[in-house]
Assembly symmetry: C2
Homo-oligomer: 285 residues x 2
Amino acid sequence: MTKPPPRIVRTVADLRNVAGEWKGQSLRSTLVPTMGALHKGHLEIVRMAKTLAERTIVSIFVNPTQFNNPNDLANYPRTLDADWRMLEEAGVDLLFAPRQHEMYPEDFTTKITVSKVSEGLCGAFRPGHFEGVATVVAKLFNQSQANFAVLGEKDYQQLHVVRRMTRDLDIPIEIVAHPTVREPDGLAMSSRNARLTPQERQLAPELARQLNIAAAAFGRGTPAQDIYQVAHKAILAAGFSSVEYFELRAERDLMPLQSLSEPARLLVAANLGRVRLIDNVPVSE
Amino acid sequence: MTKPPPRIVRTVADLRNVAGEWKGQSLRSTLVPTMGALHKGHLEIVRMAKTLAERTIVSIFVNPTQFNNPNDLANYPRTLDADWRMLEEAGVDLLFAPRQHEMYPEDFTTKITVSKVSEGLCGAFRPGHFEGVATVVAKLFNQSQANFAVLGEKDYQQLHVVRRMTRDLDIPIEIVAHPTVREPDGLAMSSRNARLTPQERQLAPELARQLNIAAAAFGRGTPAQDIYQVAHKAILAAGFSSVEYFELRAERDLMPLQSLSEPARLLVAANLGRVRLIDNVPVSE
């Protein structure tokens, strides 16, 4: 049986109508929040979403409040038509693509702040970013009333911020993490990869390679400072213009670690040309 | 038919079980969030709540994060047994009385800030108060998944903060306001009234009296500064130790007004002995 193409709704009222119909039929739903410019990584997340509940919603909204840099917002790729076709093929049930005034009426004045887990890492380099993320995700969760949400581990700190916000505010949704999807050469899939020049694209996988080298070194007990020094040098030598952070953090609560005393993540952000790339890998003994 | 006594639950999991049962039976519910120390004003609110939906939940939680003053928190009246009996008589279905660690686990780090409507008035004198209110109310709404919530107009700025937060975060609950319930002598009912000495209790109605005098003067077109000056003097002369604010604000968005250019509220906060009292009245031409 061929699935009908996904319905597209642009208002919260329409989204709620569909969600209400589903609840009336005891159908559960999974939300996949995205900023569009969909790639294979998103499709893997959608595939997981479909295994969790009877209905799948994908939201596409380039959220202005999480961009600390106006150029980044202006240059963020927008490909709604292509996105729609991909979601149709993927068998998604509903596409929610609200316009900005639908999400943020003129007198919008509410902000959600998640301290601790949002500090350091991207939080240190993107002031206000995680407040924007937490606020828009709370809205999407409440608007969709989905039972599950799937988020990618590529944005690992974001995953922690969203998990904490959801638990702290008791939003009745279960967050499921999807492992980072990678290109054959190891580069973490990201909508921002589309903005790399062909030459930069060649260099980009060095980030994941250095994460893996460093993770292995942590596993062998090499001192953190030695590992960081080697990694920074190698990333810059590969052609990146700067390394924002390269850090070991606890899987559990994202608190900084000096050594591999508990299950951990190694996280990096670095700039390649005009593009800021992030990545992370799990680290265990 | 005698109604069974209200069930009391102390955990979010138990609250969700009951709420889930009701949803399964297509029964809607109304939440009345309180800090306990219930009085006749609360019972009027409960009475309204019962007209809105088939089930009524009253929450009792003295929320520490909304107390900027530790003495005020320590001295806030706590009368859970008496509250329970009152709610039983009032025919409430469920009493939710969570303990502090249930609401705020040790690694709780999320805060909701509502700017503009939370500025000035009580917001100026109680730093952090409305962040505490917005955060705990969002939690209670999400925990109970009630269809309606009834809030008293006595805490008029709080009503605006909660309305704005609920709309901005798209929490699927309808907020209904209940007019301030007053003692025969005009004093707005408040749990804090119990802390007044007999002599202070005699003086307290002067606050409502001055609000009404000032509201009438605004209706006649008397200049705001003249009205404020007379009111301040009269309240202090009556025995209050200080007037924190006495201000005209727009009903619509709580923005400051210099004159009666649109439907408005006149709001006051003043200290009588060790007790801080607030009140407000509608003002129209």
